[in-house]
């Protein structure tokens, strides 16, 4: 199964690099949005920095993950079904999307740092938050995309399904990142991190249990 996961990640990576537009469109989305926010706000600091970063990250993440199941055509899905373990398919998507979102978040952070100066005081805490967030959003969005791809008008529907489910994670992320920015002094930092990990673990476990049901169609 590990071999299957590795091969699938490699396949996704190869496809994304071969069709350069998929990657560049998401990154371009992030960069232009950052630039636009920078022009609107003039100077991005503190609370506004936090809000802008996470909103850009959320929408870019949704755009990026939307591709993961929608791009698979009917024939290719049938081919996977006869060949692969469904859990391997799901885990490969989740891992690939996690890495993708982490790179996307880092890039957004760098572009924002370039335009507005670095407002993050505790870099390690911020990147830990970003990696936990990438993981959480990737798990939630990947599963929701799998559900949404079974319906007719999927792009709109996936957004409707994905936002409420990801909001719980987002609230914790914003709190942790506000701490990293020095906006608040979080006394329950450890609890928040553990809770974020716990939510990620529960969603991951649930996806692994439910995805095989969704897969056999």
């Amino acid at each position: 199964m590990l071999g299957q996961i590795f091969q699938l990640i490699k396949k996704d990576f190869t496809i994304d690099f071969r069709q350069g537009f998929a990657l560049t469109s998401v990154f371009l989305f992030a960069v232009t949005t950052v630039f636009m926010c920078y022009k609107i706000f003039g100077d991005l600091q503190g609370q506004a920095w936090n809000a802008v970063f996470w909103i850009i990250f959320l929408f870019a993440a949704l755009n990026a993950i939307l591709r993961s199941f929608v791009q698979e055509s009917g024939g290719r899905e049938l081919y996977y079904f006869s060949l692969l373990n469904p859990i391997a398919v799901l885990l490969s998507k989740i891992i690939y999307n996690t890495l993708f979102l982490f790179v996307l978040g880092t890039l957004t952070f760098l572009v924002m740092a370039l335009f507005t100066g670095n407002s993050v005081r505790e870099i390690p805490l911020f990147f830990m938050t970003l990696s936990l967030g990438s993981m959480g959003l990737s798990i939630a969005f990947t599963f929701v995309t799998a559900i949404g791809s079974k319906s007719n008008n999927n792009a709109t529907l996936i957004a409707i399904l994905a936002f409420p489910i990801s909001l719980g994670i987002m609230l914790l992320l914003i709190k942790l990142s506000a701490d990293a920015l020095g906006l608040i002094n979080d006394t329950s930092l450890q609890t928040d991190v553990i809770m974020l990990l716990a939510i990620n673990a529960v969603l991951l476990g649930l996806s692994i249990i439910l995805f095989p049901l969704l897969w056999k169609n």
């Binding site: 599963f143 489910i165 809770m195």
Partner: protein, 355 residues
Amino acid sequence: MKQNWYKILAVILMIYIIIAGMLIPIGPGIVGVSHGNSSSIVAGESITLKVNGYNAHYTSGENKAFLAVKVKDDDSRYTIAANNIQVIDDQQMEVTFTIPSTSPFNETKEAGLFIDNELDGFAILPSAVFINPIGKIQDGAKWQRDQALNLHARPGLRFPFRNILIETIRNTHYHVSIWMAMFILLTTAAVYSLLAALKEDPIYDFRASSITSIAFIFGLMGLATGSLWAKYTWGAFWTNDIKLNMTALSMMIYAAYFILRSSIPDEEKRAKVSGIYNVFAFVAMIPLLFVIPRLQDSLHPGNGGNPAFGGEDLDNTLRMVFYPAIIAWTLLGFWIANLYYRFKKLNYKYLFESV
């Protein structure tokens, strides 16, 4: 008749909670005191407090009044009795205290007011006044320590008096019970959804979706009753309370469930996909409603880590109506859901016969 027992039980319990919940009076209590200039008194002086009671009978029966100060965190109390009590009417009286010039404590302490009445039993107003001993710490012989106050027992069937809540405490039978019933309904719906996803049978899906619809309506009713309650106790229909926001989020998750259902025309596919989403939504809701609110401050009772049903907020009289109310709302929910389910099933069958 055998299948209808729960409907009969629901109606009987519903009538019971409406009648008992509305007619049982609130126990006697103290709404507040008005003091002349300031709520702080200096040791050695005297103060006259005008006490506003609620459901009290000050004119009948003998009244006693005490000020009680907790000196340490343990339960030892120092008390001082009123030297003059003047009853104005049933709900109002004036009590005068003379604070001894020597005190058993050396910093400003809050004192609770105890009013004891033969008929009503005792009532407490916490932090009624603040006593400033101006640094004179002595043994405080005039204060009486851990004295048996000989308080009268409260009369039998009364809902507890809570200072800000007063009559709105009756909303417990609606707001809280409807939430409880909603959780029970949603849990059942999640089980049916799992069955629908496993067996791809639209019949289970009809069960799950009809129960979820009713649970969603119960959720809206819970929000509406809670909103009204908040207006009369906290002063606004919506506050930035963590529980309210998490609830709004859960409602959005379930609203997305109905949108998902409406976007899949094929019944069997819909049974599977929406069943899977329902289970996912149910599990995603649990941390939002049960874990995150406990970790943050909330205006709701039981904030900061405690469950909401502490001994102080829910007494036995309230339980006598509150527990049947949960059962009644749950049964009523299942009854409506059953009707909706049968409607959906008939619709489905009719669709096949007409083809």
